[in-house]
Symmetry: C2
Subunit: 171 residues, 2 copies
């Protein structure tokens, strides 16, 4: 997996990931990050540990399979998505938890050598009524391959701390 | 990750995973498989590659975090679930694809040393109208820790080939 990834295009948060809070997630904002290229060796290693189905672990058998060749475990694609999401999107200081994911769809197979990028759209940002120091952010996630085809979609749910009030005594 | 896992309890498919087809997934059937123990080293390695948030990568920093200690990436827990699902539940011969997952919920954190098991409940098995050689199976997935507490739930969707008709010429 390639190491260095970056924001794609001009749009990105004004606040860096180390100083980003609930208020920085504004519904309607769209960001793109990438890219990560996945190798056959990585596909085989991931699948050998977590998803030992022959379409993910056996290049020869996979040619006879429903996708006509080796494809990455869908959970591997989710891992690659998460790497871009953690490096660039979700706050490194304000994240309290993720309750889960809705409507995860593996739209197309990911093959050795494919290069994946992430697009995030803030769908909803709602301050908690019971705990006003935090809010719930819902994000539409799309992962694309190098052809611009969608390979994975889902909606992520994150609980993020609000920006701390400025302490007047420390001004 | 421990290697040898097994069916837990008495219930299991009559058909082995190498000869299991759409028809073998009967709504209402419940199966349990396990167990896999996750180590701190595995948590750190997975997170270093796919989810480098400090609650997953830095045991010291994690003690100050929202869970009071290191926890596994939620995607790592999904990978462990998938290992049990692939080894014991989803057919090794009939699986054509998985369109996706609905309502994935990380219910409780998974910590180093936790031992996870899987419970699957066949919720729906519907033959395809357009392609009667296959059907769609929806499975409720629950993952438990060693205390019996639920750590992960989701609904999986699998497309599975029907049992091939016996070829009369080969009888």
């Amino acid at each position: 997996m390639e190491a260095a990834t970056t924001a794609l295009g001009d749009a990105d948060f004004a606040a860096p990931v180390e100083d980003r809070w609930f208020e920085d997630y504004v519904p309607g904002e769209v960001y793109a990050y990438g890219s990560i290229t996945v190798t056959e060796e990585e596909i085989l290693r991931f699948a050998g540990e977590f998803d030992p189905q022959s379409i993910h672990t056996d290049p020869r058998a996979a040619t006879e399979g429903p996708f006509g060749g080796l494809i990455a475990s869908g959970w591997h694609t989710c891992g690659i998505m998460m790497r871009l999401y953690a490096d660039h999107y979700v706050s490194a200081v304000a994240s309290l938890a993720s309750p889960g994911i809705d409507e995860l769809r593996w739209v197309r197979p990911v093959r050795p050598g494919d290069t994946l990028s992430l697009r995030t759209t803030v769908k909803e940002a709602r301050l908690s009524r019971s705990k006003p120091d935090r809010g719930v952010v819902r994000t539409a996630i799309e992962v694309f391959d190098q052809h611009g085809d969608t390979v994975l979609t889902m909606t992520a749910i994150n609980i993020l701390r609000s920006r701390p009030a400025v302490d007047a005594s420390r001004r």
